[in-house]
Symmetry: C2
Subunit: 354 residues, 2 copies
DNA sequence: ACAAAAAACTAGATCGATCCACTAAACTGG
DNA sequence: CCAGTTTAGTGGATCGATCTAGTTTTTTGT
């Protein structure tokens, strides 16, 4: 038994007794067909099981109504965004096609495959490619989750969370609990690290408290390493500080941090582990705030206080920015507000000596 | 400044002084061109920055050399497979195009978008669609990570891990440590759950120990719930009621499990959390084995003993199966062996009363 | 009631490649 | 040296849709 070949527009046209062009008009929902024939053609199409052939449409039409998304398949938050981008694109009449990057597949390669497919714009999540090259792409590019106000601003559209606001939320939350000395474990060279570090420094300056920054990174192991440095520094303050009260039983020196804001959740988990292994109670002895509100942070036994990014708002803004630029609009930057997801790793500080 | 339109084969042909058909032959690497012109055409193509237009190729050629992959974007292991499928496909001269499923995007829809693009075969990871419908697809379908020997066998090709072997590895590992009573928190209605449950029951039967199964599911919350039931059952067996605060080995009745094999890692993490929150030491009071060897399981502070699936072998087998069926080969089933990744959540049982 | 305008519909070119049938050139072998 | 075969290269149809420029029909205004 031979598989019946898939019906084409010509088949539908013949069956409905109209021209191919009219079928095209009806299928596209374009103007130029009466309600009655529209209904009839649609009926026939359904009966025949007609589905438009994407390849042909892509080839012929100047408006492919296709958005390309470059994402890193190993990043959980990217995955979440991809799903939301499908929805946001669909709502504006755009299909979405994916191209993954990974250890064996470069961003460049992923981009090229999208261009060969005829996307009208590309959304690149956490771009690693230099802005100059991205700007050279023959279709509009939207950078998602890139560093705010970074070198890409003004060259490619950018959609990201308000990193400074996120850090401020964390610090305000901790201040509200009574913390005064708050350290930061940064993200090292990772994308977004510089912005969060700066926001931290500014927020602390605004409070008139000296910043205390430890060099970390995006991974669990980075957070763990930075946490050890923090512990060492606390020990040093407690042990050698000039105003140490003798006996320092619970021994926390004035000026030693009672809370720490970490670059991201993965890094925060590493830090958490290190603190607890060292016998430091969290949140009793030290409060910890992460960033990303990842699924892992929300696991019951981790329950990390974290800054959440609004995936849906980000996805909608990215699609909006892409569609805008396709329509000839300007390069623009969209900033989405984060929120603070309270968890069990933050609490009021225990008064020294108690 | 107007963007220069992308060069086509006609442009290359004109510049090289040959016909379009010959350029096509050279670009495809087909037979019918001399070495010298081949080199010349390739040179010209490079100079012009020519890249073949995927849309046109897809439309015209009967051999699109495109594989479609349907995956669930929220599943970490799917993500890993996607990356490996790109590589495995590329090695056999196939491009790979993705279509994600998710809470708002059905498998059906994902499939259709692939078919509209002209894929030669589709690889569906963890299919939820009934076999009958998958078999009705106009291109060959390969089901990946589906239940072994399930209803799909013989209808669509299937590539999966030897689930029974995985469970046996877990149980043998635990027996080797000295465990005798081993419980199972199953995956509920999830894909693969039935196979693992059966393998567990058979392995226990072979050891002459009664099976002890708790109804769970694929998520952290499912594992947590099942774990609570297990704790309740243990409490009942020990006859001590629900005093969880001072758990551990103290009140363990003969016949109470000293180890548990959980459906997957996510579920195992939920269970781990519940056990530890209840004051039960892992692995001191209870050993836990997960399944998937996910990245989360490998985090330093989690370090879950888990059954690992060989992603690369799975990906290569899936592509091989797809290519085979495209070439007219038979439906077939490929089974890949898992391994046990030792972690810190399994240890010898503490003798009761110690 | 009739010309002008709008709406409904169609023929044929076109997108950029592949594929098929064919010709021209180069290479055999007896 | 010429028929026969192989290799190199070409023109034109074709994939299935969209788009442009028309033609026919209907509606509208006066």
């Amino acid at each position: 038994m031979t598989a019946a070949p898939r019906p084409t527009m010509a088949d539908v046209a013949a069956a409905a007794g109209v021209s191919r062009a009219l079928v095209s008009i009806v299928i596209r929902g374009a103007a130029g067909a009466s309600e009655s024939t529209r209904a009839r053609v649609l009926d026939v199409a359904r009966d025949l099981g007609y589905r438009p052939d994407t390849r042909a449409r892509l080839l012929r039409s100047s408006r492919t109504r296709l958005l390309g998304v470059v994402f890193n398949v190993t990043e959980p938050f990217h995955a979440e965004l991809v799903e939301l981008l499908y929805v946001a694109g669909g709502a504006r009449g755009y299909a979405v096609t994916l191209s993954a990057t990974g250890p064996r597949r470069s961003e460049q390669k992923a981009m090229e495959s999208l261009l060969d497919l005829g996307v009208e714009a590309a959304i690149v999540i956490s771009p690693a490619t230099p802005a100059a090259r991205l700007a050279g792409t023959p279709v509009p590019v939207v950078a998602m989750l890139d560093a705010p106000g970074g070198p890409r601003a003004g060259v490619v559209s950018s959609v990201h969370t308000d990193e400074a606001a996120g850090i401020r939320l964390a610090i305000r939350h901790l201040r509200g609990l009574g913390h005064r000395h708050i350290a930061h474990l940064d993200g090292g060279e990772a994308v977004g690290s510089a912005a969060r570090r700066l926001a931290y420094a500014q927020a602390m300056a605004a409070e008139g408290v000296p910043p205390l920054i430890f060099h970390g990174g995006p991974l669990e192991s980075d957070g763990s390493r930075a946490a050890r440095e923090l512990l060492a520094a606390m020990g040093a303050r407690a042990g050698t500080g000039h105003d140490t009260r003798e006996g320092t039983a619970k021994g926390r020196a004035a000026g030693a941090p009672t809370a720490v804001v970490v670059f991201n959740d993965r890094s925060a988990l590493g830090a958490l582990d290190t603190f607890r292994t060292a016998g430091l109670d969290v949140p009793g002895g030290l409060s910890v705030v992460g960033y990303d509100n990842s699924r892992m942070a929300r696991l019951e036994h981790i329950n990390l206080t974290s800054i959440g990014q609004d995936g849906q708002a980000l996805a909608e803004a990215a699609v909006a920015a892409a569609v805008d630029r396709i329509a000839g609009g300007p390069v623009r930057e969209a900033v989405v507000s984060p929120w603070l997801e309270p968890g069990g790793t933050t609490a009021a500080p225990t008064p020294p000596g108690s």
